[in-house]
Symmetry: C2
Subunit: 237 residues, 2 copies
């Protein structure tokens, strides 16, 4: 094991390995080989080994990897051995959907604060769906609340026009990691991190590939005869 800077692609794959490992474990696999895991994730076996090698030696030569052990190691590498506390700003359609998004919890993510410029206008709707009242705060209180509730990650689901202002508030409040759903580039100081989630970028990608028959339509005879996956490598930014 060396001490090299880890490619971002490796981290994305680690995330994928963790999902696949959970499936394999659910199926009762105790030991998995890099080839097995690779096949499941649709990547190269050497890639799997190399990715893991950035962080240590987890396998046994001639045998493979112990599934549950490896899963734990991967999660630890990703920083998922703790609970990440998040705040979301902009409780429109997307914001409230994320508030209710179950999958976060599985991965140790938890939304502990919700902000909106007009709290009263949304609190009813969200509470109703949630089945219990939810507290929606004015962004003015962000710094205070972030401190109080140990928020480390901010989610922006405002309209694009508000995104930069909100990001500034988050930075001011000491939130170092931002997940931005508003389709606009936002800027933060050094040491802060923004990751974008732009569906339309991914759609644009699809549109491009579908256009001018870059995706060759084959005989759609038996559709069930599925084959190698198209990976969908990344999410827009």
């Amino acid at each position: 094991m060396k001490f090299l800077k880890v490619p971002e692609a490796t981290i994305r794959r680690l995330s994928r390995y963790s999902r696949c490992l959970e499936n394999l474990i659910r199926k009762g696999e105790k030991v998995v080989s890099s080839a097995q895991l690779a096949a499941h994730c649709g990547v190269n076996a050497a890639q799997v080994r190399k990715d893991l090698a950035y962080f240590g030696e987890f396998g046994i030569r001639g045998v493979g990897y112990f599934a549950t052990e490896l899963l734990q190691d991967v999660k630890r590498i990703l920083g998922l051995n703790k609970e990440w506390r998040m705040a979301i700003v902009g409780i429109g359609n997307l914001g409230s959907a994320l508030l209710l998004y179950k999958d976060f919890l599985k991965q140790n993510y938890k939304i502990v604060a919700a902000f909106d410029i007009d709290p009263s206008s949304v609190v009813g709707r969200v509470s109703e769906k949630l089945g219990k009242p939810i507290e929606i705060l004015h962004p003015d209180r962000m710094k205070e609340v972030v401190l109080e509730r140990n928020v480390e990650v901010g989610i922006i689901t405002t309209p694009p026009s508000e995104a930069q202002v909100v990001a500034d508030q988050m930075v001011e409040a000491g939130i170092r990691g931002i997940l931005n759903f508003a389709p606009t580039q936002i800027h933060v100081p050094d040491g802060f991190i923004v990751k974008n989630v732009f569906f339309t970028t991914v759609l644009d990608n699809l549109a491009y590939l579908l256009s001018s028959s870059r995706a060759i339509t084959k005989t759609i005879g038996d559709a069930r005869n599925r084959s190698a996956e198209e990976t969908g490598k990344e999410l827009g930014g």
Copy 2:
């Protein structure tokens, strides 16, 4: 201009250029240089020129690019000179948020059909939010409706356990491009395309970077002193 295969990263950036160009045009810019556009998008100027060079010569040496013209060209390259008709399957929280997502229309995307296993349970809620009744159909009718309404893109917002089944139905219905929000790998035959949008992968990335102080926290003195953006290159898959 050569005839080479275009990197996927280039397509993602094209999508970004288009957003930035719209901003610059809104600000009244008539002519933009690659340096200007690059600065706005947070990429290298040579990269901008190279990306465009895959598709032709759009600029004037010594001058730059005509903004509106370039925007149109970029959109045409991406295949956004037509309306893309989409169907969405799984009208839960996320699904209904996307149904109401305004930004799709700006980019010539339109949801023309919505499916759910239990139409009656969701139709009320969504109609209420939408302000007018919406038609939610049973997936059994997918093939018929896709044909009838010329659906080219499918969006999966079901629970992960249902995603593969839905993808199979989409393939069967002749939908060649799939945008998958369910955090699980799905498989389709050759000639079909799946792009994943996995928030948790992006969050995992954030978690990784925030862990063990890989993001160096600087003196948070003046937060407004923002600087180079962290790009958030991609969206999970």
